[in-house]
Amino acid sequence: MHPNIEVEVAGLVLRSPLMVASGVLGSSGSLIRLVSTNPYVGAVVTKTVTYRPRTGFENPTVVDLGYGLLNAMGLPNPGYSNYRVELESVRRGLEIPLIVSIGPSDENEAEEMVKELDNVSDGFEVNLSCPHVENLGIEVGADASRVRGIVKAVRGSTGKPVLVKISPNVTDFVTNARTAVEAGADAITAINTVRGMAIDVNAMRPILSNIYGGLSGKAVHPVAVRIVFELYEKIKKPVVGCGGVYDWRGAVELILAGATAVQVGSAIAHSQSGLKVFNEIGEGVRRYLSLKGFSSVKQIVGLAHLEH
């Protein structure tokens, strides 16, 4: 038996449930093209693009903790109009959906960006959860009326699937996700990074120039599992799981918790084999399904819940 690992998220058919998470390799056309050639990559989410170009924060911007990554890049990006040119060339001939991550600070920016980027994307992921940039990300994501306004503006500007990425750094992430769904989100991506910091004991100073950053990787996996599990019960739309998936077990765990698809980010930086980590995870998921007697990965979504 050769279990089917194709999934469907908000109308997008993915050849594999594994997506490249935003912020990892999705920053240049050539890297997007490179990752898309891996048969176990089902979709690529780009680096978050903002209305204006951003240079990001001074180095150090990333701390490799081994069990995770702590980053405060500061959303460096060329701005949506420059990025559009880059995406235009890459999308031609791309075999998998390209989901553009956007970080608007208000409705007007959201509308203009989405209209401009609509014909170079297959869907959008709205980043309302970057934990370290002022007036963008979590500052927006923690404010229900701004979430509603921005998601409505995105929804009203495209017919393509809209994912909203939420933060674990707010008490009431369920309300946030519900607000996004009511405003027109087709799916929720959970989670973005968890706020944290690191201090160098020799320098006796915070390592990140921004002092605070966002933790990703293995360390946040249980947080992601818990949030995906809870969202699966409380919202009516698909959940895309993201957080510390390093192997097939991590991916299966999120799917059993309720994720329709799973994003992989930090593992790419930590894997000795680079992009082959997608093969390892994808083949492992397939082996697991086969062993457990399932013909499709869709059959195990949310299976960890009691009602099943």
Partner: protein, 269 residues
């Protein structure tokens, strides 16, 4: 990958002025640092930022960093006084392959002369026949030649204006030297347009050429895309900084890099 977030503390023992724009920091480390010629370190001063630097000497607990004042962080680092501290993490990336058979010709332009010195010393110690060409615009802009003399290095100098050594550019000198000597391997660090010319000559003559690139390195882990070479998708921080020159000719090499915001900008030098 041996990257770690633990920084090694280093004390500035002395600061040598090479030119008006370039200084060499001689550092004493708290412990020995293993770094292969051509690999780089991330060098951090809290409050001043962190940049990638390929050391110009790494012997036991002594480390030399030859730094050109290009931006804020490099200017701050190049101005440090004895007794001040910097913090190092790494090594990162792939260094030079020095086990290829045959003779080696090293070509260092500007601060590239300094960054190539560990490779030169390593080859000479192995008994490999090695010739080192260093160059700059003029005599005043030559970097690291004093240190090379102290190290007993055999090297030849070219200056654009002929104020010292061969009169002409390094690629011109390279062609001249290569016409009189046979080499199987070329290593080069310097301005990218210079390296492109050298790599092209090497391809013409069927000589292996390793070039070392500089880009804005942010994550150092190969994920952020800041240092990517399009259209190849090669990342300077993990796939480089040393590349086979032939493999990257025709790419962004010598033509484009990305700025802090990830915009592709033209390389002018």
């Amino acid at each position: 990958m041996n990257a770690s977030h633990y920084y090694l503390e280093a004390n500035v023992a002395s600061n040598i002025s090479e030119t008006g724009r370039v200084n060499t920091l001689v550092l004493k480390l708290s412990e020995e640092l293993k770094i292969a010629p051509g690999q780089f370190l991330m060098v951090w001063r809290p409050g001043d930022g962190e940049i990638p630097i390929t050391p110009s000497l790494a012997e036991g607990e002594t480390l030399c960093l030859t730094i050109e004042k290009v931006g804020f962080t490099s200017s701050r680092l190049a101005s440090l006084k004895p007794g001040e501290k910097v913090f190092l993490r790494g090594p990162y990336g792939n260094g030079f392959n020095l086990s290829l058979p045959g003779r080696y010709l090293l070509v260092g332009g500007g601060t590239g002369a300094a960054s190539l010195t560990p490779a030169y010393l390593s080859l000479v110690r192995k008994g490999v026949e090695t010739l080192f060409l260093v160059g700059a615009r003029n005599r005043e802009s030559l970097v690291y030649v004093q240190r090379l003399r102290e190290l007993g290095a055999r090297f030849q100098v070219a200056t654009d204006d002929g104020s010292e050594g061969f009169k002409g550019t390094l690629p011109e000198f390279f062609v001249e030297v290569a016409s009189r000597n046979r080499f199987e391997n070329v290593l080069t660090i310097g301005p990218e347009r210079m390296m492109v010319k050298i790599a092209e000559k090497c391809v013409e003559h069927g000589v292996s050429c390793q070039v070392s690139l500089v880009r804005i390195v942010k994550c150092g882990l190969g994920v952020c895309g800041s240092c990517v070479l399009d259209p190849l998708g090669l990342r300077v921080c993990v796939d480089g900084p040393v590349f086979n020159g032939e493999k990257i000719l025709g790419s962004d090499f010598g033509r484009f890099m990305r700025d802090e915001a990830g915009r592709r900008i033209e390389i002018v030098q």
